[in-house]
Amino acid sequence: MTQLPQSTDRKMGLVIDLDTCVGCHACVISCKGWNTENYGAPLSDQDAYGANPSGTFLNRVHSYEVQPAEGHAQLIHFPKSCLHCEDAPCVTVCPTGASYKRVEDGIVLVNESDCIGCGLCAWSCPYGARELDMAEGVMKKCTLCVDRIYNENLPEVDRIPSCVRTCPAGARHFGDLGDPNSDVSKLVAEREGMDLMPEMGTKPVNKYLPPRPKDKIEDQIDILAPLLAPVAEEPKGFLGWLDKTLEKL
C-alpha cells in the first residue's frame, strides 16, 4: 500500500481562494472539532491551560506580507492543510503501509492501527501537513473528511469537508479536480489556480487561487475624471444647476 496507485478514479481536493480568505480560523477550529470526534484518535492538546499550549491541528492559517515593488504592502491569509498530492512522498516513505492514497478518490490517509509513529512521512511532506499526535503517538492528517463526504447519515448537502461547510467567506471549495468540467476545475482555470512548491514534484491536488491585483483604483482616474467635472465652481452656480436639474425630474 505504501506504493502509490498508478492513477486514481477521481482527484478530490480543495480549492482555496486567497483573494477571499479573511483569516478568521473558522476552518481550523471546525476541523479540530470534527476530527477530534471522528476519524481515528482525537486531536489532543498538551498543556492546554498552561505556559506552552500545543495541540494537533490538521489545518492552520498562516499570514504573509507581500511588499510589491511599488505601492502598499499586502497581507494575505493562507490556510494550509494536506494537499492530497498525486505524487505523495509521504505515502512512499511509510515503512508499514499505514500511509496510503485511496484509489477511488485520491485521498491520502493514515491507517492509524498500522502507524508506528516514526514521523518519516511528516519529514517527507514539504507542506507541514502531517502532525504526530502527542497523546496517541500516531500521525494525524487531513482526511478530506472522508467520514463526511460519503456519509449517508448526513444530508447530501452536508457531504463536504467540515472546513468547507463552515467557511463564512466561501473561500474554500471542494470537488473533483480530475474532472475538467467540475466547478472546482473551472474555477482553477478561470482564476489561474496555482500549486505550492511545484518544484518539489509532488503534484498537489489542492489548488490556491491567487489574490486579485490590489490598489489599482488610481490607475483608472484618467477614465473616471470626467465623472467629477464640477457642475459649477461657485455655490451660487450650484444652486442654478440644481434648479435646472430639478426641472427635468
Binding site: M1, D17, D19, T20, V22, G23, C24, H25, A26, I29, K32, G33, W34, E37, P42, S44, D45, Q46, A48, Y49, G50, A51, N52, F57, E65, Q67, H72, L75, Y100, V103, N111, A135, E136, D147, N153, T166, P168, A169, G170, A171, R212, K214, D215, K216, I217, E218, Q220, I221, L224, A225, L227, L228, A229, P230, P235, F238, L242, D243, T245, L246
Partner: protein, 937 residues
Amino acid sequence: MNQPVIETSPKVSDEVRKTTCYMCACRCGINVHMKDGKVAYIEGNRDHPVNKGVLCAKGSAGIMQVNAPSRLRKPLRRVGPRGSGEFREIEWDEAISTAVGWLNELHETAPQKLAFFTGRDQSQSFTSFWAQNFGTPNYAAHGGFCSVNMAAGGIYTMGGAFWEFGQPDWDHTKLFMLFGVAEDHDSNPIKMGIGKIKARGARVIGVNPIRSGYNAVADDWVGITPGTDGLFILSLIHVLMKAGKIDLEYLSRYTNAPVLVNAAEGPEKGLFLRDEDGKPLVIDRATGKPTAFDKPGVRPDLSATYEKDGVTHRPVFHLMAEKYLSDDHAPEAVAKRCGIPASRIRAIAAEIARVAFDEAIELDQEWTDFRGETRSKMIGRPVSFHAMRGISAHANGFQTCRALHILQILLGTVEVPGGFRFKPPYPKPVEAHPTPHGDRRPGRPLEGPHLGFPRGPDDLLLDDCGTPQRIDKAFTWENPMSSHGLMHMVISNAAAGDPYKIDTLFMYMANMSWNSSMNTKGVMEMLTARNEDGKYTIPRIIYSDAYSSEMVAYADLILPDTTYLERHDCISLLDRPICEADAAADAIRWPVIEPDRDVRGFQSVLIELANRMSLPGFTNEDGSPKWKDYADYIVNHQRKPGIGPLAGFRGEDGNKEGRGEVNPDQLNRYIENGGFYVAHIPEGADYYKPWNTAYQDWAVGMGIYDSPQPYLFQLYSEPMRKFQLAAEGHGDRQPPEHLRQRIKNTMDPLPIWYETDQQGNEGFTVNALTQRPMAMYHSWGTQNAWLRQLHGRNPLYVPTKLMREHGLQDGDWAKVSSPHGEITVPVMEMAALNENTVWTWNAIGKRKGAWALQEDAPEATKGFLLNHLIHELLPPKGDGMRWANSDPVTGQAAWFDLKVNIEKADPPSDAESQPEFAPIESPVGTGPKDLAWKVGK
C-alpha cells in the same frame, strides 16, 4: 491494491439540538450534536437567517467553552479583601437572601443607590425592565463604551445604523466600502457578504489604518490616519456634490433636504418651519407654496427659499451646499491630515459616482410611497457601506457616523437595491423611540425606559439644580445624546461620589477590573478604595458571570451564571434581534444540556430577586409572582397586549406572528423550528421601507409599529440644533458656562469634522489602536483550550518605518507611554499598516490567576492590555473639572483617540510585559494538563 476498508458512513450523533450561539455577539444558529447526552460537535445551522450554516472559529470551539475549567461552580461570598480572590462557597439560599437584604432596602428608600449595569448582555429588554421596576435610574448596558456613536448617529440621521439595524444589500451591491470594523460584530454575515461580493469580482474598498482581516482582502486599501474618517468622508461629499453626482430625486422625496429652516437670528434660528400640526414644511414645486412634507402629490423643492413675516427660510440643502462646497473640504485641503493623497480621494469619489449612477440597477417592482404615489420601478444605486467602532470610538465619532450616513443618503443608496438596507424593527425614526427617564421614586418603578433619544434640552436627566440624575451622567450637558449610557464612567463616578454616592454596584458579564475598562489599574484601586472609616468607598458589589474572570475577585457576592448551552435566552424583537433585510426574525436559547454545577441562569436569578422584593411589574395584584423563571417570562410576559418577547408562534394555536395571545407551547415550537422564527417581508415591501406603504402596513401588523411611521431622513438634525440654540443662550435650560462653547462647536446640526481634544498630548505623536481577533471575543476566548492556541499572546504591531526609526526588531521590547501611563511590551513589525500607527489585539493579556489558567500562561506573562494607557478622563486642564475621554455628543468612550510615544527598552528582568499585577486566587483552580476530548464511542 488492497487498501483498508474504512467506515465512510459513521453515525454522526445520537441527536441534534438546535439553539443559538453565544460565543460572540453575532447570535448564529447552531446544531449541537449530542452523543451519550454530551456535546460532541457544534456546526452552523443551515436554515438560520444569520449564518445560513457557516460558523466561525469561536462558534465551533463552543464545546471547549462549555467544558472550560474556568466555569464558576457555586455562589461565592468574599472572605479575603477585595481583589484577593478569596471566597467561600455558599448555597443559593444564602446568596439570594444576601442580595435581597442589600437590595430591598434600596428599592424602598433610595433606588438610585443601586447601579445596575450589564456588559455583554443579550437580554437588555429584560434587564432594563427589571431595573425600571426596581426604580433605579442607573441602568445601562455596554453600548456607551462600545458603539453608541454608530447607533445614535444612525438613528438620529436615518432611523437606524449598521449591524443590527441594517446591512448592505450583499446580493446586488457592486462597490462595497468598509470603514474600521470590530471583526466580531456581525462577523459571519459580513464574511458571507464579502464572500458574495468577491465571488462576483466586485470591488471592496477598505478604510482602516490596519490592513488585516477584511481589509486584507479589500481590493483597495486606504490606510487612513485614525480619527480623520469624518474629514475624508466630507471630502468625498464635497467632490460628489460639486460634480452633481447626487440623487436629487431621492433627496427631494425622502430626506429633509427640502425642509425649510428659519434663517433669522433669534430663538427660532435653525429650527424647521412647521405647520399647525407640527409637520415640517417644504416648498411644493407645483404650487411654489409651503406645504407639509407628506402631503400627497407634493414635489418638494430643494432650492427655493421662503419669506414669512420678514424671516427668510432656506431649505436644508442650501445650508449643505454652503457648507460642503467650501474649499475647506477639497481633497487637497484634507489629504495631509487624512494621510490619503488627494488623487486617491478623487479616484474613490469617481468610482463611487460611476457605480452609483452609471451602473444603477432597476428592479421591475411596483411600490407605493407614503404620499400615495405609485412607482413602477425600484432604482438601485449599488454602492454600499459598513462601519463600526473604527469611526465611532473617537470623540468626534458621532459627527463622523452622521457624515457617513449623509454620504449614503446623498448618493441615494439607503434602502434601495444594491445599497444599504434596514433590518426590522428598523427603520425607526427618533420619534418612535422613547425619551430617557431618570426619576427616582422609592418603592415605585421608573416612569419609562432609562435609555432613549433626547429631542432637546428638555429631555436631559438633570434635577432642578442641574445635578445629573444618573450616576454615569448620561443625558447631561456633558454628553446630551448619550443614548446608551456611559458604563465606562460608573465606577469612576461612584468612587468619586460624583454626582452622588451609591450603595451597591450590581454588574453582569462585564470585566470591568480588566479589559472592559479604561485605566485598568485605577479601576482596581477604585474598587478597593476605602473611606476613612475603613469601609469600602463602593460599599457593596454583586457580580454575575459564568466564568472566573478578573472581575470576580472584586465582588463581594458572586452569582454564578450558566454557560450558553445550559440556559434559556431570547433574542427578541424588543431588544437586539437577528432580523435580516428581508425578514423579521428572533431566536431563543434553551438548555441543550443541564449544568453539572450549582449555577443558575442570571435572568432567572433576577426574577427570583424581583419576586422576593415583590417588585412592581413582576408581581400580580394578589401579590403572587408573575413568573417563576426566565423561560416563564419569555413566554408569558406581554409588553403591550399581544406583543411579547418572542414574535413567532403566538396565539393559542401558535399560528400568529408579531401580535397574538400568549402561547404556552411557544418555546417548544421554537425548538422544533430550530430555535428561531422568521417572518418574511412581502415582495415589494422589502426596499424603500421608511416610505413604502406596503412595508409600513406589514410592520404594523407585526407589532413593530403601532401605526405607520413614514419619515424623512434627517440630513439636518433639529434636536442637535436645539442643544446648540441653548448654548447660544436661548431657552430656559442652559448649559453650564464651561460647556457652552463646546456644545456650540460640536452640536452642529449638519455633520462636521473637528480635531479631538489634544490637550496633554504634546510629545505623544503615534496613534495606538486595538482590534479584536476574529477568533476571540473580548476576554472569553482565553479560557478556551482551542482558541487560546491561536492567540496566546499579543505583540505590539509597529509599522516598518517606526521599527527602523527606533532600531527595533521582532521580539524586541518597547516602552510605550501615553499622557496617562506606560507599558513595556514585545513588538512585531507590520508593513501593511499606517506608518504612524501601532496596534495590538484587544483582551489577550490576562491577569495571573484568572480564567483557570496557570500563572505562567503566555497571556499572563507576555500578553498585555493597551487599556493601561487610556484614561476615562482627559488630562486635567487646571480648571478643576473632570473632563471625560468621551464624545461630547453621546459620551461614547474615545478608545481610539489614544496617542503614544514609543522607545526601545531593555527586556524586563523577568521577560514579562509590564505592568505586572499580583496573582489573584483562582476560585476554580487551574485547568488540566492535557486534553483529548472525545465523547461517545
